[in-house]
Symmetry: C3
Subunit: 391 residues, 3 copies
Amino acid sequence: MGATAAAGHGPVYEALAALPLVDHHCHGVVTAGLGRERFESLITEGAAWPGISPFDSPVGVAVRRHCAPLLDLPRHAPAEEYLARRAELGPHEVNRRFLTAAGTAVFCVDTGYAPDHVTTPRELAEAAGGAAYEVVRLESVAEEIAARGVEPGEYAETFRTAAQAAVRQPGVVAVKSVAAYRAGFGLAPERPSDAQVTEAAARWLAGGDRLADPVLVRHLLWTAVELGLPLQLHTGFGDSDIRMHRVDPARLTDWLHLTAGTVPVLLLHCWPYQRQAAYLAAVFEQVYLDVGLTLHYVGPARAPEILAEALEITPFRKLLYSSDAYGVAEFHHLGALAFRQGLAGLLQERVDADELGLPDALRIAAWAGAGNARRLYRLATTDPVPEDGRD
Amino acid sequence: MGATAAAGHGPVYEALAALPLVDHHCHGVVTAGLGRERFESLITEGAAWPGISPFDSPVGVAVRRHCAPLLDLPRHAPAEEYLARRAELGPHEVNRRFLTAAGTAVFCVDTGYAPDHVTTPRELAEAAGGAAYEVVRLESVAEEIAARGVEPGEYAETFRTAAQAAVRQPGVVAVKSVAAYRAGFGLAPERPSDAQVTEAAARWLAGGDRLADPVLVRHLLWTAVELGLPLQLHTGFGDSDIRMHRVDPARLTDWLHLTAGTVPVLLLHCWPYQRQAAYLAAVFEQVYLDVGLTLHYVGPARAPEILAEALEITPFRKLLYSSDAYGVAEFHHLGALAFRQGLAGLLQERVDADELGLPDALRIAAWAGAGNARRLYRLATTDPVPEDGRD
Amino acid sequence: MGATAAAGHGPVYEALAALPLVDHHCHGVVTAGLGRERFESLITEGAAWPGISPFDSPVGVAVRRHCAPLLDLPRHAPAEEYLARRAELGPHEVNRRFLTAAGTAVFCVDTGYAPDHVTTPRELAEAAGGAAYEVVRLESVAEEIAARGVEPGEYAETFRTAAQAAVRQPGVVAVKSVAAYRAGFGLAPERPSDAQVTEAAARWLAGGDRLADPVLVRHLLWTAVELGLPLQLHTGFGDSDIRMHRVDPARLTDWLHLTAGTVPVLLLHCWPYQRQAAYLAAVFEQVYLDVGLTLHYVGPARAPEILAEALEITPFRKLLYSSDAYGVAEFHHLGALAFRQGLAGLLQERVDADELGLPDALRIAAWAGAGNARRLYRLATTDPVPEDGRD
């Protein structure tokens, strides 16, 4: 498990290379074969533009370096060879290899985003030899209600009931919101009134598709608080739908004050606001963070620095691991590898400089890679995870 | 003095380890014994939450690594042993050890924040074998006036008179504002009119406690300008009362243009906006900065990077040292140690790479650690500081 | 060429030291001799303040370290000796030495900013043994129209016609806007209506000098889009006229969506927003970036980190080189040196760690140093550049 992750040497590297990770936020992988164009579009938050291949970017370099060997190719194999070999092996074998190599014991899968046909949580976990739990994306719940049809005055209650039903399904451990994409974090912090929600719902139901009205986004976040499960929030890095200057998680401060004492809030991705996220994790009991998505996009060359910034003041029980991988199993592997190598590099260096004791370093590594997520989501502390926790 | 600070080797390390520092912004230490809960609450900007000890954070690791040996314990001693030994030695001896180890010759003490019973500036300096000066916190001056009772129409003049009297006390070298906490930096830059101040004062005096009205905060900053002393401003990092996205010091640019040619402005802490603060220091004659508070919270492992960012474009006469330590003398020591090691590491590396001449490196170190503050606050250039400079 | 640039060792250092650069955004150099005061004012974005010499700053240290040897002085020569030798050699010889040492094959010169008498693009290129192209600063075009006199209702058409004429001049390859300085990036993204432009023009023409009206700045940016040439935008770092919190290029996101599919947009300088700029370059086809100006101001000691942040997610075809040097030829040299050393250090380290293949590293270096600019501006792929491309 994770043998290729040990770029450096020392006991922290060894411990992290052997640690079964909890990937507390990820997605399924495409089960069909992928042509060059589709593969390239899945390894960028932009697109495959003429003359500018996503392979010619940090993540493309990382794929050719760290994924090619798992396809029996030399390190740094050219993109053409990589794609040809990928096609030759077929999606089932490719996915199996990367998911196994990730060394991930538990996947918490956001099932609310799937423009492609992707694996179910159970299928993902089975390919990896791990266990799966589910994360309910609340915008999807709301949009399904709108698609089925609802009176504006009934929207709030219908949404609440549907969300409650969704989180009661076996294996659901968290909810998620992409409020960052829909309205940014410049929202008024207070819970909107019933009348405001009805009025906003009337506007939305009359013509919209995506839930993006600021009042309804606020209502969604406040409904999340009532559900009692940890709430995952997209922050920072994403595709061009993001307005980066509006998704600094510090903008949530007033809301975090109002919702203190309710549910844990998990700030996902965070880059380039990992320091602001760390500040929130340091001063609000309920706030946790990860630098998922970011780590495989910047690759192992920069992952240590991103983790170092994220950890400048973050309490060690507040950092979690996620890949946020979607579509290609390369990212489930790369995310795990960049996390293991990056965190090991950071901790081992401090041990070697006698700034950190080895037992402390091993404890921090185990917490960030698995323990914090197991504690927060109340996962079983030993594998395998119960059957009803899958799919 | 500061023998434990020499983590690296070379003449810059030696010079900084031996340099008597000027800590241009700090607070007193608690004189009573501290139980675990109170100690933990004093080593975090958050709180001691169930299951998440502040010892399990970067600053906790730094305390166990760098403070334990001064209590005759091994490096990385467990928290329990640390606290037991601390109690055994008693607060007087503990404070004496850390304050002496800090190697600080001069303390400029903000006396306007003391939820605990803490040392006076004179007591602090005596325990350290150094000298003390005082920094007047203007919000405290204003709030004392309000507590004593004043007519709204008299507020402006009463505040000005009280502030003028406060800064005429022996040993006062600067004023300070926590406008960042109270209103953020999105304030209109202009001086408010007398009528506006009276109206705002009427609102505040009718019921408020903390001075947080934006008009009154602006008025406070403009009154500060008239006092003629350097003005210290909290920016960036702090507790959960901060709205981090509103305390980027760049938001002060319009106000800095309007007040150019008046008093020096010292940006305190700055993280995560150390680059924005550096920009202001590079383009406004009156702007100076430090990364106090930040350095001991991130610890010696990250202090070099924070200092490197703060110094990317900052003129070398514009960086000052402060600990911003409050409550526990560990922080007066850790702040000094992280500063000495961090700056020495940065400068020695550049000397070793022949990017910087050794005489220049030594000059920069002496300026940042003491000379810039002595020049700015017009402190005596040799110790000891005059008696009337203490308390 | 660039022999002094090889601070480290290895094939990437050698390749970058030998690479003829394309400096896609710079200015001319002063042709007269410079006294201490004027020289100091040209090596800072601030000013030469009493007691705070620009030589005592990162850029001053870099000048004394990397420029002194080209004047036959020892490394780290004192400022006085530096200036005396500079005067002794005379401006023509000084400029020749630095411009030759820069190893720049092509200069794209912004001719719209010249408070001093500076070289024409042709003169600059001839001193360097390179070729020159021109960048038209659109605010200057607009302000010339205003100075000559125009009716408000004619302003839009007159400006468009003048801009079209300006870009049809031989050797013009791009336009530039300093909207960041004039209005910040909090502009409404939509093209203003004709009536709005006429109304705003009436206000401006009645009394203003600098084009700073938000409606006219928006109009200028939309006019730029019609011109069909790449558009260079100042972002981030600059002098005290900048409001740093308003020039985060992420604030351009809505405008970038509306103008997608039109002209390339080149984000200049970017610091401290290099990560936000990288995000835009990763998700918008038309966005490119450089960290010009920043690199010589932070100097070779920090250039690798700035480049590393800028490249965390930037596609490798999206990074360009510029010096943004103005006034002193030291900066044309230092910018090139900091870029070569910084990028070489970053890439060679990754090659040495086997995170990047050497052929890939060499390709990335050649793209960033020259190829991306040649492709984007459709420059000849071999030197020399056609005669009509100069001045």
